[in-house]
């Protein structure tokens, strides 16, 4: 095992941060579809904030990606 190998393992482990991002995105879109199926008229009202929530949750997955990229290419 060379240090180079540990770098790749670490970068791979860092992508586990996407688990939380995935759970969050599932919750957001699941709840959106639940709300819209109960009250279809409310769909346009929620749509904008659906994507804002989507972007905010995805930010944490992006932090994990940032760590992985830093391990791979910066350190």
């Amino acid at each position: 095992m060379t240090p180079e190998m540990f770098k790749y393992i670490g970068a791979g482990l860092a992508t586990f941060g996407f688990v939380g991002s995935g759970i969050g995105l599932g919750t957001i879109f699941g709840n959106y579809f639940l709300a819209v199926s109960r009250n279809p008229a409310s769909a346009p009202k929620f749509q904008t904030w659906l994507f804002v929530g989507f972007a905010l949750v995805e930010a944490f997955g992006i932090f994990a990606l940032l760590i992985a990229l830093m391990i791979m290419f910066v350190i």
């Binding site: 904008t48 994507f51 804002v52 972007a55 940032l66 290419f73």
Partner: protein
């Protein structure tokens, strides 16, 4: 990332090669070598938008024709998004936000064409746009509300003993904004194009060496087709989200809630 795809290792599996910035073909050793594929596609994007808009509104009438209807749909989209988030006060930002949206969207669509270059797969450009928007938010906030605007770091209704902690967290999350704002666009486009390249290399390069690889190639071609459709969706969605977040950040500058 570029050093991973140096000239030394040009295999069929060179996934990062598509993101290399090089001078346009034929200009390598001329004084015009600063015209890279990235610069060319940025100028092309602006030219496409400008020509399209001029042509569509060439004969503007009260009762719109076919072309004018398309341009009105684009403008209604911008006004609708700004009205939703910024309210009537934010009407002066419609042109800026619509320009940002059209630039990102058209650049992404042009980047999907074969042999073209995806300008937003480079974090230098996305970070530049995100930092400009970040500084614009601070400027708009301070010019409209004075130093009182920095009260957004202390939300109302927080108990006094918790306030120091909340202020620190708010300041950190405020300065993380340009980072996530730029990385989202960059990461989505880069990852999408790498996936397309991987599947495309498999589908084309599996080769007719045996029956199994032929079947694999036949199976992967529809997958590649579906993934391309998904990439077009991502191209639109990421442009929309980039603009939407810029609008949300501007909303806090125009009307801070504290």
């Amino acid at each position: 990332m570029a050093e991973k795809s140096g000239d030394g290792e040009k295999s069929a599996f060179d996934l990062m090669h598509q993101f290399d910035i090089t001078p346009l073909a034929g200009l390598e050793n001329t004084p015009l070598a600063f015209v890279t594929n990235s610069a060319f596609f940025m100028v092309l994007t602006v030219a496409v938008i400008a020509v399209l808009m001029v042509v569509l509104t060439l004969s503007a009438k009260v009762v719109p024709g076919r072309g004018q209807t398309i341009s009105e749909i684009i403008f209604d989209f911008g006004f609708g998004m700004v009205d939703d988030i910024l309210g009537k006060k934010g009407r002066s930002f419609v042109t800026f936000l619509l320009s940002v949206f059209l630039f990102v969207f058209v650049a992404n669509i042009l980047g999907m064409m074969p042999y073209s270059f995806t300008v937003f797969s480079h974090i230098s450009l996305t970070a530049f746009m995100a930092v400009v928007i970040f500084m614009m938010v601070i400027y708009v906030g301070v010019s409209r509300h004075g130093l009182k605007w920095f009260g957004i770091f202390a939300p109302a209704g927080v108990p006094g003993w918790l306030l120091p902690l909340i202020v620190v967290i708010e300041i950190i999350s405020f300065f993380m904004r340009p980072l996530t704002h730029s990385l989202r666009l960059f990461a989505n486009l880069t990852a999408g194009h790498i996936v397309l390249k991987v599947i495309g290399t498999f589908a084309a390069g599996a080769g007719a060496t045996s029956l199994l690889t032929i079947l694999g190639g036949l199976f992967l071609t529809p997958v590649l087709f579906a993934l391309s459709a998904l990439e077009y969706l991502v191209a639109y969605l990421q442009a929309y989200i980039f603009t939407l977040l810029a609008a949300v950040y501007l909303a806090e500058a125009i009307e801070p809630h504290h």
